[in-house]
């Protein structure tokens, strides 16, 4: 039952690393850009800007990639995004472009163990094939042939002939190091305390480590964007929630490591570990200084069950860690990538909880907004901040996204 959807023609116009550099080099020469937030989006933006010749400084409240950017499932298959094609174009090149390993691996398989899952996966496959992104439907036996850890309970699945996954922690550090190699500065343990404005522009960013003059600012500080932008009189509606993951000891390597399904996201790492997350989240208050803690909960047990259902032949494997990350969301769950009307040299970037995989492209989009004022490779008009103009003050309560009373009291 192989679907013969359109081949995904991402190899057209593929650049070598050298060509990419030549194409964009020099266009932002001597422009001083301060990036607030050393997560994957800010670091990628910094890297893209440095490749264009900008003098980039990244300020982070702690260590690069310490929050959601380094704690996620590592997926890189976001067909819903306008940045998707650029994401797909860039990932296979990233190790060479950055100079550091990201553990990027191609393609994904999504497995169903319930009829409802199978129906939904079929819909997703159809939706993708209509967009020209090839997804093959798989019978249960085909899944079992491709996924050795699958069991008798597998009802079928789908094979993304695009997308993939990478190691979040390694990738975040790769961006940071590559940025340094291009002359950029990474200032860790430097929380931002304020902005200095003049003539409708931010002219300097103040951090605990000092004052940083700038021609442009990128605010990519995750859940802390709200508090930071409020200092500039800009309201950015964001709500943060806690999400959890678990990881097992290594399993024998599967031919395609990007296997998930059964309500889980995740991957088999190149070491063999099964790292998966999913399930209920807890909405939290946000604090300017960042999360006070990132606790995991007994949800670990429910995740273990889901993983054991997904991979019955791995049910004997030991779980060796769990962790949680604090993730920001916009009211519609879609990114905000936008250059402000005032101060007009500020770009805001939040990926609303889907930032890691898209980072090679989100950084490019931010770079374009900073340097050229508009995105050169795709339309991102629907990701503007203005779509939330006039949003009700109680938008969180309307969605049931309010923080617990105990958190608000803290």
């Amino acid at each position: 039952m192989t679907n013969t959807g359109t081949n995904f023609g991402l190899n057209v116009g593929r650049e070598t690393p050298q060509e990419t550099m030549a194409t964009i080099a020099g266009t932002a020469n001597a422009m001083k850009v301060v990036i607030v937030g050393g997560g994957v989006t800010g670091l990628s933006a910094g890297w893209w800007l440095a490749r264009s010749g900008a003098a980039v400084t990244v300020l982070d409240k702690g260590i690069v990639g310490w929050e959601a950017s380094g704690r996620n499932g590592g997926g890189a298959s976001h067909y819903q995004s306008p940045l998707f094609e650029e994401e797909q174009r860039m990932w296979p090149e990233m190790d060479a472009l950055l100079g550091y390993p990201t553990e990027h691996q191609k393609e994904r398989i999504v497995m169903a163990v319930t009829e409802k899952q199978l129906r939904q996966y079929h819909y997703i496959a159809k939706m993708n094939n209509e967009m020209g992104y090839r997804v093959d439907l798989l019978e249960a036996d085909q899944v079992r042939a491709m996924v050795p850890l699958a069991g008798d309970n597998c009802l079928g699945g789908m094979h993304y002939r695009f997308g993939g996954h990478a190691n979040p922690q390694r990738t975040v550090q790769a961006y940071a190091w590559a940025l340094q190699d291009l002359g950029g500065r990474i200032c860790q343990h430097s929380p931002v305390t304020g902005f200095e404005t003049e003539g409708g522009k931010v002219v300097a960013v103040h951090a605990t480590s000092g004052r940083y003059e700038c021609d442009a600012v990128v605010v990519a500080a995750g859940p802390q964007i709200g508090a930071l932008m409020a200092k500039l009189g800009v309201s950015v509606p964001l709500a943060a929630a806690r999400a959890e993951m678990i990881v097992t000891e290594p399993a024998p390597m599967m031919p395609i490591g990007g296997v998930d399904g059964n309500g889980l996201y995740g991957r088999q790492t190149m070491r063999g570990n099964l790292a998966y997350g999913g399930g209920p989240h807890e909405w939290l208050a946000t604090f300017e200084a960042g999360p006070a803690a990132r606790p995991s909960s007994p949800l670990t047990r429910n995740l273990a069950r889901r993983v054991a259902e997904l991979f019955p032949k791995a049910a004997h494997l030991n779980v060796i860690r769990s962790w949680a990350g604090i993730v920001e969301n916009t009211p519609d769950g879609r990114p905000i990538i936008d250059r402000m009307k005032g101060p007009e040299n500020v770009v805001v970037a939040t990926m609303s909880g889907v930032g890691f995989g898209l980072s090679p492209a989100s950084g490019h989009a931010v770079r374009d907004l900073v340097v050229d004022g508009q995105c050169s490779f795709t339309d991102i008009a629907k990701l503007s901040l203005s779509r939330f103009d006039g949003i009700e003050p109680d938008w969180r309560e309307q969605r049931g996204w309010q923080a617990p009373k105990a958190e608000l009291a803290a």
Binding site: P101, Q120, R170, P280, P291
Partner: protein, 486 residues
Amino acid sequence: MHANNGTDPSAIGTRLPAPEARYDIVVIGAGPAGIFAAREGAAAGKSVLLVDEHPVPGAAMGNDVPLFFGGRMTAATQNAERMLETVFMSEPGLEAAMDEGIEVLLGTSAWGVYRNGPGMAALPEAVVALADATRGWLVGFGELVLATGARDLAIGFPGWNQPGVMGAAALTMLLSRYEAFAGKRVLLMGSHDLALHTALLAREKGVDVAGLVEVRDAPQGDPALAEAVRAAQIPFYLNDAVAEARGGIDGVESVRLRSGAEIACDTVVLAIGLVPSIELIDAMGGKRVLDGARGGYVPGENAGIRCVGDCAGLADTGFDHVAYRMEWARELGQLSAPDTIVCQCEEVTRADLLGVQPPHYLERPAPMAARSLDTLIKDGPPNPDQIKRLTRAGMGVCQGRRCRDQVAMMLAMAANGPFGTVPLATHRAPVRPLPLRILADWEESEDMRSGWDVWFGIPTQWVPYRDIDTPREREHQQAIAGNMSL
């Protein structure tokens, strides 16, 4: 499609289950301190649960969990029933505790403590998570008493990554409670009370003790104990260190000392120090403090939780355990080669750890190879969790038991600071490696099942960009029931 009705159907809400049992006092660890605390509670009329992870499953022992067994346990440890009886009979206080109405569960590990606090308010109450050989479950408590003891401090040296290199706490456990030590002739590293006690115990149990190796120029422990060791004709190798453990298919066969002496033995016992078992406290985000006289990191004040026995800190005799183990780490480091393994699970060498290099299945292009701990330190104080993720040291199935402390020591030395300038890599639940099928909540509620979503359950999130604000948007949302609620 967004309901905007004030509820989020895939938020955690009240889905985390209540504990299946609740006791006034739950005691973790049935050594003397734990048994004392349990009996004290029972005498005061409290309901008490006393759990102890021993006997641990053979597979866990093979992974050096919870102690550094070094593969030197006999096949008897594979017989779960026999082990249960042996371990029960080895501790007379257990029978008395049961007679006093205390519920005693052996072979049961505590792998997490969960309570509401910063970043979490969804728990119905504070719980301790338990697991035995068949299942995992949650227990509520009025007071939690941790009597989890202390675990072995491991420091690597050439040849330490083979069967027959083990820890003093593991040896003591195998000799005195499991009756299952497979070695015949042991050489101990260290000469403080731990090493002296362990040497005397081994001798008492009929094990040949080849000697004690000490980096300093005199035995470090209680003079009376040192005298007892001497009286037992056990030699001290002072101002010396283990340069290499040599062996074959069954592990250690001999040891070469720095001084050149060759000593035949089948077991090398790391008896340099013990580390208070603070895993549960640390994994729940509890407070910990560094106290060199009490064995390193010890629990701080944590409401509702009491630590007793060695897990609260070793007895303060005025001896600086941390300074002593740093001296050993420096010496063994000098005797090691760049390719000496630090993390056995992930096969991380000293050179790769200090070079912050990725594992060998990844390429090391020139920029990567040029990176090192030195370049990382320029960006700020090194954090062991960051280094762990890059090198994988501490990421293996032993959960960093064999390398967490030595990595912290190596990083402190590399950063030219005292131990403690670099924090210890954090512990994470489950603090014991537990199979998916054991950890799994097979009894989870329908509410948990039905509210499950891959991500945040935001119905607009996965709509293809081109279909946003078109009639198809609604169709997509309906067809995939919001987004990926499965």
